[in-house]
Symmetry: C2
Subunit: 553 residues, 2 copies
């Protein structure tokens, strides 16, 4: 029987995040990306999801297949954040990525005490990986050095069009390599795997340049501290705002571990430049007048432990809000984060402090993903036989199909796969193969702030780890814990169980009398959870599932 | 000391829902609205919120004040849904509302076994309530007979501008009474309390008429069943689509208890007209060809128990989805419901069935709330001395302040109150009074579908009612329960506790083997909760807090 080329998504189909794509030729497996998933607000006590790699484990151990290598498209968490969880489970294989992608991914591995494993390769440079030959093409997105991947196989060429937009005037000046895309197209492409998140949006995504004037005006007119929150990895955005701040002789300050780490990496790689003498450390902010300062603060998604949320709740050691300050959201809520983000915006509004965000206009953010016309332009440049939308919800994939039909593809040439569905490419036809069952796998938050407490925690281990429910009454107006919290535990040795009740009650008692100004119900609940988890872990080296129930009295 | 007029919001400031506004003159209290709040997805096991009425209870019992009456602005749950909870706690007082408002509110009271209490009054008709004189002005919104309320007091006139938009071409033909608004304005208005939900949106909200062509085209071109979901109380929307369906000789069918009840009430009041012979009952749908049918299905917010969610999950007794069907969302997600709504849209997309919703354009919904220009037009017509935004989050109130400043109000004449903050109007000045502490009070869902199981359930009673956590492993691909669920209970008599474990395990075992096609993680979790709650209530007449933890294997 002739060898076939098959494609399977173990994550990143029917969902935006958790990207892990499998290209398989004979017994050789090439992986593209290895990302985390983001939990939504309905998943109690869950922060992150991992792709289910049991198919790969079985392929390697039972079916004598071999992972010949991996390519990473860009340095976002949902494309490389699962590396520390996945790599240790397999024999070593080569991993490739562009310069900043390799930097971000290797940093991630080192955070977990693992060796750097991602090799930096240049754009437009063929790399042989078993029977596959790959090369990276530079595209614009919201992190430097983002790539599309051309994958040559004995059964034809594939174009893996991961997250991108076509910004013709990117602030960094580093444009999409349209020539390289067109050249790949002229080579003949069997199938274009294309991201599809923006397929519902008509037209083109506006350029980063459209943010220039609004930021100049906002920073110039800000009577107090100008606090900007954006994705930590959006280096070009940081550079754009820093450049404006420098031109006005402002001092700049980075607050929050994730943003401090990323800007350092970007500086080292020459992707971020500013006058070091203008930088102020968070604990020195008080020495300057408020209106001399532009702060870059992590937490644009309303994350409960982020610097921004702590500042807004009056709990940050170094940064206090004053009436004249202005907070700018240079990011939109990721779907599923609306409640958290708007509760921060409402909390700021309630404090009487000005907050600028997309819904009130002003233009402080543009998406990193292309809209309909850009997705169609990619189809036109690549001219594939088939298209297969990836990295979107099922609704985005359906919207992408409509675009493809408008672009002249027949319905049968638009492949709507499901996660785990094998798509087999023969010489002259395409066919559905096996459907691999995929499980949801959850892990706790692993952002910088929490790293020290991090323990990998598969929710399926609850029966071994136990469960602790905490019912705490907290005075809404003052944030003071009233009475003793009710604590219910199970699945723990009964001696531990009693001790845990005592220890958690004490930890909560200790934490809450000093607190105040907490006006965010959700934040409070997560605080209770975190305090309890920490106390239990420190006292008993246990990580039971903690379910907080906070009652405001 | 001279008497003053004070205004306090016990709900409906800093939030869109849970409206309960207090106008107080001397020892007389006039209430406006009495609504439920909607919980967001971060509030575990909580569906609805009640306004905290302890201030009113104290005022009546200790401070010898008297509730002289209540006016209800319109028949939406967040303006009258708390009546059954609040009324029994006070001596009787007169309640007034427009015709359909009274119908909806009285129906609600009867659902709870209470006597109808809301008296119907006509628009533009003075009603004396103690020292207050009120009259209703008709405005357009998304439910018939919506009113603004002019409140004359010995300390000046107030204009309570509850939810509205200025649709110049409403489908019902029943327009905003601009003359009456202008007349109120010319009388001299002390303060305009105005809703502010749309204050972030520029321009005007489009008219309902803009939906006409898109619906004609969608229904005409639909090859299967055309399934429309909207708010049950949006009678004008229903009438608009029914009229189109009738013109194409379609049969119509209403699915879901809430929509069936509301359309019956609207028919009785002469607000909804169609040829009865074209109506099909849900259990007769199978007798007709799919493309003969237009279905109106409850569940536009992705509610876990709604007819729509059950249809999409293949669990509805009467309605099955077929490939040719089209589902139209004629409603946007209420903030906080995004995850639920998009998970339904994704589930439909995954089934390969067409779904039309706002993000992909097509124009099947317009908001019931006015945008910036309409809010400013109301200011111009009413010409108040002061404005005070209500019925919005703090961010909306801040955006409203910007509009008011554009409209010529000085910053000091824009009153940004907080929930529970007393605002005292003296003859010649305004002053902040006491700040009443307000608690969050939670109740279980009371939608039509669940009415039979309804028990008022204050979360503060958890210590009396107990808590049951369920850890169930369910096979993601098939929806089958694997192994015995882990059940942890506390706060229940220990005999009950053991029995409950047994009963819940059996109920879950029984429920899940027959299920299939469940692709919605959130839905699954809520199903587990509901099955367990029902089993516990039926077997033990208990309503502990049930925390479901579903693990997909």
């Amino acid at each position: 029987m002739d060898k076939t080329l098959s494609y399977i998504s173990l994550g990143g189909i029917g969902e935006v995040t958790k990207n892990l794509h499998v290209y398989q030729f004979g017994d050789e497996i090439l992986l593209v990306d290895c990302g985390l998933g983001f939990a939504d607000e309905t998943m109690i006590g869950v922060d992150l999801l991992l792709p289910d790699i049991s198919y790969l484990q079985k392929a390697v151990t039972q079916n004598k297949k071999k992972i010949v290598g991996m390519v990473i498209s860009h340095g976002h968490e949902d494309h490389m954040g699962a590396l520390p969880f996945v790599l240790p489970q397999f024999p070593e294989f080569p991993i490739f990525g562009s310069s900043f992608t390799a930097t971000m991914a290797n940093e991630k591995l080192e955070d977990f005490g693992l060796r750097p494993a991602v090799r930096e390769i240049s754009f437009n440079h063929d790399v042989q990986i078993g029977s596959f030959t790959i090369s990276l093409i530079h595209v614009t997105h919201s992190i430097p050095d983002t790539s599309h991947i051309v994958i040559k196989t004995p059964l034809g060429n594939f174009y893996h069009g991961s997250d991108f937009k076509f910004d013709l005037t990117p602030f960094s000046g580093k444009k999409t390599d349209f020539q390289a895309i067109a050249k790949a197209g002229s080579m003949g492409i069997r199938c274009l795997m294309s991201e599809c998140l923006g397929s519902e949006r008509p037209g083109y995504t506006p350029s980063e340049q459209t943010l220039q004037e609004p930021f100049i005006q906002a920073i110039r007119d800000c009577p107090g501290k100008c606090i900007v929150t954006t994705y930590s990895s959006n280096i070009s955005r940081l550079q754009q705002i820093i450049t404006i701040a420098e031109s006005m002789n402002k001092r700049i300050c980075f607050v929050g571990r994730s943003i401090i780490k990323t800007k350092e990496l970007a500086r080292q790689k020459g992707l971020l430049a500013y006058n070091k003498s203008r930088e102020v450390q968070p604990d020195q902010v008080k020495r300057y007048k408020d209106n001399e300062l532009v702060l870059f603060v992590a937490g644009s998604q309303g994350q409960e432990n982020s610097a921004l949320t702590r500042i807004v709740n009056g709990e940050h050691r170094d940064i206090q809000l004053h009436k004249q300050d202005v907070i700018i959201f240079s990011a939109d809520p990721i779907p599923g984060n609306e409640v958290s983000v708007y509760s921060v915006i409402d909390a700021v509004s309630k404090l009487g402090i000005k907050v600028l965000y997309s819904d009130i206009g002003g233009n402080f953010h543009v998406s990193g993903h292309g809209s309909s016309q850009e997705l169609m332009l990619l189809m036109s440049l690549v001219k594939p036989r088939q298209v297969l939308p990836i990295s979107g919800g099922y609704r985005h994939m359906v919207a992408y199909r409509e675009l493809a039909k408008q672009a002249g593809f027949s319905e049968k040439d638009v492949i709507l796969a499901q996660a785990g569905q094998e798509i087999i490419f023969y010489k002259d036809r395409v066919q559905y193969g096996q459907k691999i069952p995929l499980r949801h796998i959850y892990v706790d938050e692993v952002s910088g702030e929490q790293m020290e407490h991090f323990v990998l925690h598969d929710r399926q281990k609850i029966s071994q780890e136990g469960i602790v429910a905490i019912i705490a009454e907290i005075e809404g107006e003052t944030g003071i814990l009233t009475g003793m919290p009710e604590i219910v535990s199970r699945g723990l040795p009964s001696k531990d169980s009693q001790e845990i009740t005592k220890v958690v009650a004490e930890a909560l008692k200790k934490a809450f009398p000093q607190k105040s100004q907490i006006s965010d119900w959700n934040y409070l609940r997560k605080q209770v959870r975190e305090i309890a988890e920490k106390a239990i872990y420190e006292g008993f080296s246990r990580r039971p599932l903690v379910l907080p129930v906070v009652i405001e009295t």
